[in-house]
């Protein structure tokens, strides 16, 4: 008897608590008018978490540089971890869109994660800013007016590399890349421009349990008799690949040309492991830490001072994504309800990008320069990349014509 009375009492109290909670949540919901909410999807766990850490540092630095304010509104940042998995990335995106009701969703390192997640953002009529992934589908047939990129379309960087290979008169090539959306785009990119013969191609297993031992593929590449080796191994796979490349003694036989493999994430590790073979190797990119403009000097300088190492291109693009959003919020004076005005403002790319000025194509992909970079040692003995020459000026991706916008 006593017990059941107690139970009933508890139930009433629970109901009261629950109603209070609902009321509090409702209040919190209405309070968002005086803040800009940005969701950011990145990879913070798994070995790819090193990229996420660099992105997090750069986003934090961007918010520091703008005093965490856009048009006098506070910025609320929701950082989410996709765990390197498309399904988790989509869940986290749904959570940002529905539960946090963010105004912008930015980030996305991986093309397969972006492809799985994009509809959740776009169908809710919110803005999607890719800070890295640039799959061909989004640039072409599946393009959307609310999609903008602060990186590149996947094919572009390897196209620039292909152009450089032609210039160096390299006649045959062996190609290695991971077997996922971006890997295929990278291969397609270099193949579309390169005029010589592709002697062989390997697409290796990718994901949280990616293949990291390339002994079989390197043996094939060497036996193929190609004149040069092209690879795309982003994040953790990069140092592993470069180590095995050097251990197999291929530098003298099969010179290496890479995209998104030799960067500020892999170079400190390679330097620690003393893999000097990478010094002098060449790659292409839309950005480099030594690009001479005020925004880049401030970004790289403050990053170096704060973290003791160079930011990566992932960081640079993430920094840009925050600055792009800020430029749009400022131009509508914080009134984010007018989606058309926000979209028009984003389309102008009217901000100081760390890569220098660029414009947007019909598909929301940047039309920008691509540079040939070389790995060098800086004045303080740190390994970094330096621009050698401009390969493409104001280059637009090849899928823009498939986009009906």
């Amino acid at each position: 008897m006593l017990l059941s009375a107690n139970n009933r009492g508890n139930r009433v109290i629970n109901q009261v608590k629950y109603s209070l909670l609902v009321a509090a949540l409702a209040l919190a919901g209405t309070a968002h008018a005086d803040s800009v909410k940005i969701g950011f999807v990145s990879t913070l766990t798994t070995p790819a978490g090193v990229i996420g850490a660099d992105i997090q540092n750069s986003v934090d630095l961007a918010l520091e540089h703008i005093d965490n304010k856009m048009a006098n509104l506070d910025v609320e940042l929701f950082m989410e971890d996709d765990g390197f998995k498309p399904d988790v990335g989509k869940q986290k995106t749904d959570k940002l869109v529905k539960q946090n009701d963010v105004d912008f969703v930015a980030g996305y390192i991986w093309s397969h994660v972006l492809l799985a997640s994009m509809n959740s953002v776009l169908s809710a009529n919110k803005f999607l800013i890719s800070a890295n992934a640039g799959p061909s589908q989004v640039a072409g047939k599946r393009c959307h007016e609310n999609f903008f990129s602060t990186s590149w379309q996947n094919d572009q960087t390897p196209m620039a590399l292909g152009e450089h290979l032609n210039k160096e008169d390299i006649r045959s090539l062996y190609v290695m890349a991971p077997n996922y959306a971006a890997g295929k785009d990278m291969v397609a990119g270099v193949e579309s421009i390169f005029k010589g013969e592709i002697k062989g191609k390997d697409l290796t297993k990718w994901g949280a349990d990616a293949q990291l031992d390339f002994s079989a593929e390197l043996a094939k590449a060497k036996a193929s008799g190609a004149q040069a080796l092209f690879v795309f191994y982003p994040g953790k796979a990069g140092p592993a690949f470069l180590k095995q490349y050097q251990q197999a003694g291929l530098q003298s036989v099969l010179p290496l040309y890479s995209v998104f493999t030799v960067d500020a994430i892999s170079l400190p590790r390679l330097q620690k492991a003393n893999l000097e073979g990478v010094l002098g190797s060449k790659n292409t990119q839309a950005w480099s830490p030594d690009l001479d403009n005020a925004a880049n000097k401030r970004f790289v300088g403050d990053y170096l001072a704060k973290h003791g190492g160079y930011p990566s291109f992932y960081g640079a693009q993430a920094y840009d994504s925050i600055m792009l959003i800020q430029s749009a919020v400022e131009s509508v004076n914080g009134d984010l309800s007018d989606k058309d005005a926000v979209r028009d403002a984003l389309r102008l790319a009217n901000y100081e990008s760390v890569r220098g000025p660029y414009t947007y194509g019909n598909n929301g992909m940047p039309i920008q320069n691509f540079y040939l970079r070389e790995v060098v040692e800086d004045d303080e003995g740190r390994w970094t990349t330096k621009v050698v020459e401009t390969v493409f000026e104001n280059h637009q991706d090849p899928y823009a014509s498939d986009c009906k916008l």
Partner: protein
């Protein structure tokens, strides 16, 4: 036919097979003798790599890293057996799976807290970074080091199991655990030793591979699945089965990665072959398992009194 390429790939497949054997031999002993499913066996592989990496960073010596790391992993394995596994031998397999899956998460989180998410690279001494020329063939020296390390451990294990009293008890335990126990053998001590030995071998495999791939969080979680395939196809509890099947799977995996796309091009378009080949070569190992289990449900070399 490019014979140099074929020989290179054979060497590569032996290297992969021996790494798998180092993992699978401990797993099969623990599974066979204690009837304990240890999903977290791959965590010892990871911890071995991290222990070794930290010691190499502190002392500058790769060999000190291996030796001190091995001792460390042996004691870590003993600790896990004493604290956790021992409490579970009497429970059913589902409980083993749940607890050891939890252990994977604990070890991954520990590594994240202690070493951070970025992984640990292990620098090799210069003489191991080079290549060796044999006729017209060039091999990375370190790959040959992995092979000799794996063969040496396999040899030591063979002597231990077939020539010592301890090995006799281990063999007896794998065939009939209850009988060993009823003959008055201190089964707790035997289990502790076997578990720690298995952990040390997994750790050794992790130390060997880490200079190539770096030590990373969760590095053991994908290879442990293949190691389980080795254990099951080889026959649970059979070291001999683990050895032959590990080499066989290393061979299938490496050869399919190198020749499958050429082969598929005979049947389908180049583009289709390029896309399908990696997917099929990832599947082949499991196809092998399904076929073997259909005809020999106890595996190729089940441990019976005579077969070892």
């Amino acid at each position: 036919m490019d014979w140099n390429l074929l020989i290179s790939q054979l060497v590569n497949s032996i290297q992969l097979g021996l790494l798998l054997f180092l993992l699978a031999s401990g797993l099969t002993l623990i599974f066979g003798i204690m009837d304990f499913i240890n999903l977290s066996h791959g965590s010892f592989y990871m911890m071995g790599a991290y222990f070794c990496g930290s010691i190499v960073a502190a002392t500058g010596s790769f060999f000190a890293g291996i030796i001190v790391g091995l001792v460390g992993i042996f004691f870590l394995g003993a600790l896990v057996e004493w604290l956790i596994a021992r409490q579970l031998y009497k429970e059913n397999h589902l409980d083993h799976v749940l607890v050891t899956f939890g252990l994977i998460l604990v070890f991954d989180a520990l590594v994240h807290i202690i070493w951070g998410p970025s992984g640990l690279s292990i620098p090799l001494p210069d003489f191991l970074n080079g290549q060796i020329q044999l006729g017209s063939l060039v091999f990375p020296i370190y790959r040959l080091v992995i092979i000799s390390g794996g063969l040496a451990v396999a040899g030591i294990l063979y002597l231990l199991i077939s020539r010592t009293r301890l090995g006799m008890l281990i063999r007896a335990g794998a065939s009939n655990r209850d009988m060993v126990e009823s003959l008055g053998i201190n089964i707790n001590r035997l289990f502790l030793f076997v578990f720690a030995l298995g952990a040390a071998m997994a750790g050794f495999a992790g130390m060997l591979i880490a200079p190539i791939t770096e030590a990373t969080i969760g590095m053991g979680n994908d290879i442990i699945i293949i190691a389980f395939v080795v254990v099951i196809v080889g026959g649970i509890g059979s070291i001999k089965g683990a050895f032959y099947v590990a080499l066989m799977i290393g061979f299938i995996d490496t050869m399919s990665r190198s020749y499958l796309d050429d082969f598929l091009e005979l049947l389908a378009s180049t583009a289709a072959a390029e896309t399908a080949a990696p997917a099929i070569s990832a599947m082949l190992v499991y196809v092998l398992m399904a076929v073997v289990l259909a005809f020999k449900p106890t595996g190729l070399f089940p441990p019976t009194a005579g077969n070892r």
